[in-house]
């Protein structure tokens, strides 16, 4: 039943996107082919195939992600490039003082989050860590525009590379914690991530077309809010919508959930920065 739905969606999209000479099945960004569908990694027991969130969006929203001139997130990426070269903090340094080019970060986003010196580290942690230690600069707010713009710029350097987040070794306990959260039915509505994104992807819930809740396109530009949305902000919203006490952005719980959810995207292309309605 799920498969029929997706095929129906794809058929509908193919029709709608005909004008842009692309079907709703295949995503080329700036001429580069993205993997939006592939076999689920072995550790994801509840899914046989994983799909990028791009596959569940309307043809209009899909089109915005195919061309960097149309993609509204690119304004923030440009601002981040300026920030990359801007001196900040007591040490009189910019990112560029230590990192010759932002292109040096190619591949990094595909492996994040990861355990570094025993600590589960997200991209936000890396950036604020460097700001504190190397620059003597104030931390950026987790979901603030500077932080998420810089994460989008760094993510863009990995666009098209397969997500490849480690779940073994040091990462194993965090993986288990995140997995447990993914299947916990939170709040007065008693719903887990899996209820919506594993059992019901492809189905409509009210006006929303449920995707698999993959995070290979984050931070995403959300047209409704006209800004970049962080991974933890999205998690917070989804848990709040179950009438639950949610977790804080930057909490250890959300770090663990991020590792687990990112690992469910292993094999999909990094699409940062993706566009959502």
């Amino acid at each position: 039943m799920k498969m029929t739905k997706i095929i129906a969606t794809v058929a509908a999209c193919a029709f709608g996107a005909a004008a842009s000479a692309q079907d709703g099945n295949t995503l080329f960004v700036e001429g580069e082919k993205m993997v939006t569908e592939t076999a689920a990694p072995d550790h994801v027991e509840g899914l046989r195939t994983i799909y990028s969130g791009w596959r569940f969006r309307t043809p209009e929203t899909q089109a915005l992600q195919m061309d960097d001139f149309e993609n509204p997130a690119m304004i923030f990426v440009d601002q981040a490039l300026d920030l990359f070269n801007t001196v900040d903090g007591s040490e009189g340094r910019s990112c560029a003082s230590c990192h010759e080019s932002v292109e040096d970060f190619a591949g990094l986003t595909a492996t994040m989050p990861k355990v570094i010196d025993g600590k589960l580290t997200t991209m936000e942690d890396l950036l604020n860590g460097h700001r504190a230690k190397a620059m003597g600069a104030e931390p950026w707010k987790w979901s603030g525009p500077e932080m998420q713009s810089m994460i989008a710029l760094i993510g863009l350097q990995s666009r098209g590379m397969p997500m490849n987040v480690a779940i073994d070794g040091d990462a194993a306990p965090f993986y288990e914690q995140g997995k447990e959260m993914y299947y916990t039915r939170y709040g007065q509505l008693e719903m887990s991530c899996a209820n919506c994104h594993e059992d019901n992807y492809g189905n409509m819930i009210r006006a929303d077309h449920l995707s698999q809740g993959q995070i290979n396109g984050f931070p995403t530009y959300r047209l409704k809010q006209a800004k970049l949305i962080s991974r933890h902000n999205r998690f917070r919203g989804c848990i709040r919508d179950t009438r639950a006490e949610t977790f804080a952005e930057g909490s250890d719980e959300f770090r663990a959930l991020e590792l687990y959810v990112a690992s469910r995207s292993n094999g999909l292309s990094v699409e940062t920065p993706a566009v959502r309605q």
């Binding site: 939170y186 819930i205 848990i239």
Partner: protein, 158 residues
Amino acid sequence: MKQTLAILAATSLFATAAFAEGIAPGDVEFVDGAVETSLSGVPGNPEKGAELMNKGAGNCIACHSVEALAHLPFHGEVGPPLDGAGERWSEAELRGIVANAKIMFPDSMMPSFYKTTGFIRVGDGYTGKAAAAGEVAPLLSAQDVEDVVSFLVTLKYD
């Protein structure tokens, strides 16, 4: 004769109490997932029930489609279409499903609308903050459940 009177008196007393307070969420008796007794003691109003299908904490059409409410936009696909529900299920079964669907359908994704305990990290509505200590109010009141059930009973195939 005396005994009968006594029983009658007791019964009507009980009925009055039930009328005033209804059956509390923790006291609802399920038999095979169904609930025989009205939760409020007051007959449901199907028009109010139809409204609850679309709004507030009911919002049933977020997950279910209903032909009779086709004038409203955005019916969901998570649960089965409710057309004909009044033929498939008895009133008692429908009351049980709305009050706590997880008894009729174990592990169902459908929320339990007349339940106040046993939640994980229950919030204060949709604020994302913790609920104040103590019990939360059920998603639907006893009378809301009766109203919704009285609407569902009208859903027949024609």
